[in-house]
């Protein structure tokens, strides 16, 4: 162990003087920059953005919560051809770039070091940054989450990997009582810029305990932010944004999305944590979704288009807080909302989102909000049953057809 530690320190020392020249490009994305002061979104959907007109902070790539041009939030507008990679590699790229940029960023989790992580998100990082910055821990989720909090309170920026989101239930005490609260109860003296990430969602026959949708349970914790990635592009961007955020952020990945291939830009980019993504603009109905369900929705959208419908698909991405600006504008346009989620019906993200939209945009709705979610059952192991616990494209098509009658 002593050898490992020395190696770690050596690597850290080397890095603190290193200056990665690779990532000093600016992004071509035309989103206004924000220094980080507060912004205001009224419930009626009108943005009032405090654009901080400070210098040309081309190196500060944190973008505004509110996009002045909603459309540009969609597909990756790349200037160069970019490079192709899989989603888990995009996560790693984002992580690596941030670790290069800031020597305080470190990774903590089970098997993240030389094993490279159960889903290979941290592969190669231990060799590059040393055993200390990419830390393998014993099996104690509560412990290493607590450890990350302690480290964050003393200046580090840990990225905690839960091998499966479900295991983070063991860390609920630390996440709820300490992670979300200590910045507040200490009067702002201690901040906790941790990122807690891991795969969740229903996989292929992983069994009930490994198919948890923890966003339902965590959404109520004050003081944390939650985001869900769904493409290689937004995975990398959200990872970087989460690491740079001063708040604790929980990044939900999905077990079945790790091998998605996509072409992403070569230049550096950081996405906004509080922003939703317009996947497909439309006129007839707003379909709100996130993570894996986005793909089921898009599949359903194809069928719907053939049938003559024009659905607007929004990947909400930010699970806490909701991007009510983007969502609101869409509701005002289409007047019909369908939420497609993987959470259980009771107490899921869809339930909160339904309440939120009803509260804020009631007058704009022509019909009650339809929420398609999983049943309130533990996820069965049998493949056929598992398939029917998850919302399928056919159901989405049927729901749209019924809603738009």
């Amino acid at each position: 162990m002593a050898a490992a530690v020395t190696q770690g320190i050596g690597a850290t020392a080397a890095l603190s003087s290193a200056n990665s020249n690779k990532f000093q490009f600016t992004t071509r994305r035309s989103l206004s920059e924000r220094k980080g002061s507060s912004f205001v979104i009224r419930s009626d959907g009108n943005p009032r953005v405090d654009l901080n007109q400070h210098s040309n902070r081309t190196r500060q790539l944190v973008t505004n919560a509110v996009s002045t041009k909603p459309d540009s939030a969609s597909a990756s507008t790349v200037s160069k051809p970019g490079h192709e990679l899989l989603l888990f590699e995009a996560l790693r790229e984002g992580l690596e770039e941030e670790m290069d940029r800031d020597p305080h960023v470190c990774v903590i989790g089970e098997d993240v070091g030389h094993y490279g992580g159960s889903y290979k998100v941290t592969k190669g990082l231990a060799d590059k940054y040393g055993d200390l910055r990419v830390l393998d821990t014993p099996i104690a989720e509560n412990s290493f989450t607590g450890m990350a909090i302690g480290a964050a309170m003393t200046g580090l920026r840990p990225v905690v990997e839960g091998m499966n989101m479900g295991f983070l239930l063991l860390a609920f005490n630390q996440i709820s009582n300490n992670c979300g609260m200590l910045h507040y109860t200490s009067g702002g003296q201690f901040k906790i810029p941790v990122v807690i990430r891991g795969p969740g969602g229903v996989g292929r026959q992983l069994g009930a305990e490994h198919s948890q949708r923890l966003e339902s349970y965590f959404q109520s914790i004050p003081g944390i932010q939650m985001v869900a990635c769904s493409t290689a592009y937004n995975a990398k961007g959200l990872m970087k944004a989460a690491i740079r955020s001063e708040n604790p952020v929980i990044l939900f990945e999905h077990v079945l999305l790790y091998n998605l291939k996509e072409r992403i830009p070569d230049e550096e980019y950081v996405l906004n944590l509080e922003e939703a993504e317009m996947v497909r603009p439309g006129e007839h109905v707003t379909i709100l979704t996130y993570s894996r369900m986005r793909y089921h929705v898009m599949q359903a959208a194809k069928t719907l288009v053939n049938k003559g419908y024009d659905p607007e698909v929004i990947d909400i991405r930010s699970l806490k807080p909701f991007d009510l600006y983007t969502i609101g504008n869409s509701v005002k346009k289409t007047h019909r909302v369908i939420i497609v989620e993987e959470c259980m019906r009771t107490g899921g993200i869809g339930a909160s989102l339904t309440a939120s939209i009803n509260e804020n945009f009631h007058d704009y709705l022509d019909a009650p909000i339809v929420c398609l979610s999983s049943q309130d059952v533990p996820t069965p192991y049998a493949a056929s049953l598992e398939e029917w616990t998850v919302v399928q494209p056919a159901q989405i098509v049927a729901a749209v057809e019924q809603l738009c009658q």
Partner: protein
């Protein structure tokens, strides 16, 4: 051992087909054992050059050790790198993940309790004289006087704030009566750079580090000058400039965090350690196990101090654990530990000094169990006479009082007089009463502080909620407390 195992895991990956290390060794063993040439194998000859070419010398050394021929071949003793003192003659040894163990034909259960309890380190006798033969770190006059004064201030502060709660001026309080020596002597033995992760009965450390009586009062009253901005219960102090983490009510949650703070210090290569406290009750929490295990495995410079004061609200230690206190648990995690008389200021001081030095030099955790007694009630919400005899409380309050004992020692050295005592007590009492009055009159934090610091910047939903609350207050001004600024 751990290094070997982690490397062997890597090496196992090289080999095809992939097999687990223990399996691997065992396979080789059985192969060779069946070979007729076994008994000529020992030392170097057992290696298959191709297989082992990738191994480090550590592995080679292990293989050699492992191939020491056993007593099954009587008389066929091939020279080994080991001396026979390493195991008993009849015993054989086997490599398992985690290292080598000898095995024995005797089925012997390790007893759940040893005959004698671990003794506790003590320096001062009840009469204030150092016990003959005791070895301890010398404390100079200035430090000793400051220590004693701080213990007195802590005691008075506790009494006065407790009274204030009883008078309804603050909502809650929790005393450290009986544990002043643990508080102050520990603080004196540390430096300002050592990060403290308290449970909640360690305000003496803040006191030592310069937290003023006014600052204590402000937190208890939750006013605008409180560093916590009035968000936490009384006694949940926190001050980053004093390297004192904000207290969080759930028990033992700070123990896993200690490894993280130590990790941070390690990265910065600071000449400092982390000091994490818990009580006897806290050692039952899962976080205790997790925190200590982590610190040991990750070689974190953490000094775990367990204040074993005999009671966890109404649960005595006999109902909390069945082990010999907490000190014996250290070894279970591979952590060096010591038991000390927590009411003996000099013993605590010497112990923490030594422990801190070891923790930083060796970058390993240490566990200190400080035996003491919780003289006060658990908190102002508790009446301990309901579950323990009053004469027991009185006994510990008087005959075993840590202040009295230390005072005798300081007095004997000619460093403290009775006049000093009464003057100090009178002055502190006055200061405290003033501090309370000032704190009481200070404004409470404004409404905006209810919503700030939840996130680094105020998000839209909270802004909405704040707006909504302000509107409600405007409409019903008479129902809103007048002493809270909007």
């Amino acid at each position: 051992m751990a290094i070997w195992f982690s490397r062997s895991r890597k090496i196992a990956h090289f080999l095809k087909p992939k097999i687990a290390p223990s399996e691997f060794l065992y396979k080789i063993c059985s192969n060779y054992a069946n070979s007729s040439s076994f008994r000529t194998l020992g030392g170097e000859n057992c290696r298959n050059p191709q297989v082992f070419s990738d191994y480090s010398t550590t592995i080679l050394a292990f293989r050699r050790r492992w191939w020491r021929p056993e007593s099954t071949r009587a008389g066929e003793q091939v020279e080994t790198p080991y001396s026979d003192d390493d195991y008993e003659d009849e015993n054989q040894a086997l490599d398992f993940p985690g290292g080598r163990v000898t095995f024995t034909p005797e089925m012997k259960f390790i007893s759940e309790a040893s005959d004698k309890r671990i003794p506790c380190y003590r320096v001062l006798g009840d009469d204030g004289h150092p016990i003959s033969g005791s070895r301890y770190e010398q404390v100079d006059k200035e430090t000793a006087v400051k220590m004693y004064k701080s213990m007195v201030i802590l005691q008075i502060m506790d009494n006065i704030f407790y009274e204030a709660q009883r008078q309804g001026r603050i909502s809650f309080y929790l005393t450290s009566l009986g544990e002043e020596a643990i508080n102050i002597a520990t603080a004196a033995a540390l430096t300002l750079d050592d990060v403290i992760l308290p449970q909640y009965r360690e305000p003496g450390i803040l006191l030592w580090r310069g937290f003023t009586l006014q600052e204590f009062a402000n937190q208890c009253f939750g006013n605008n000058a409180d560093y916590g901005k009035g968000r936490q219960m009384p006694i949940h102090y926190g001050s980053n400039k004093h390297n004192f983490f904000t207290i969080s009510s759930p028990i033992a949650t700070q123990l896993p965090q200690a490894a993280g703070v130590a990790y941070s210090l390690k990265m910065d290569k600071k000449e400092a350690c982390v000091v994490a406290f818990t009580g006897d009750g806290g050692t039952s929490e899962g976080d205790f196990h997790a925190g200590l295990n982590f610190a040991a495995v990750l070689e974190a410079p953490v000094l775990f101090i367990c204040r074993n004061n005999g009671w966890a609200i109404s649960t005595p230690t006999s109902e909390q654990f069945r082990s010999d206190g907490v000190v014996v648990k250290g070894q279970a995690y591979g952590i060096r530990s010591i038991r000390v008389d927590g009411n003996d200021a000099l013993a605590v001081y010497s112990t923490i000094r030594a422990a801190r030095e070891m923790v930083i030099r060796e970058q390993k955790p240490i566990l200190v169990e400080a035996l003491s007694y919780r003289v006060g009630h658990h908190s102002t919400s508790d009446d301990s006479t309901k579950y323990r005899p009053i004469n027991e409380i009185e006994y510990w309050k008087t005959a075993r009082n840590p202040l009295a004992r230390f005072q005798k020692w300081v007095h004997k050295n000619g460093w403290w007089t009775d006049d000093d005592e009464s003057e100090l007590r009178g002055s502190i009492r006055k200061q405290l009463l003033t501090a309370i009055q000032v704190a009481e009159k200070t404004e409470k934090p404004p409404l905006a502080e209810m919503f700030s610091d939840v996130y680094s910047h105020l998000p839209s939903n909270l802004h909405e909620q704040e707006k909504s609350l302000r509107e409600t207050i405007k409409r019903h001004r008479q129902d809103y407390p007048t002493d809270v600024p909007v």
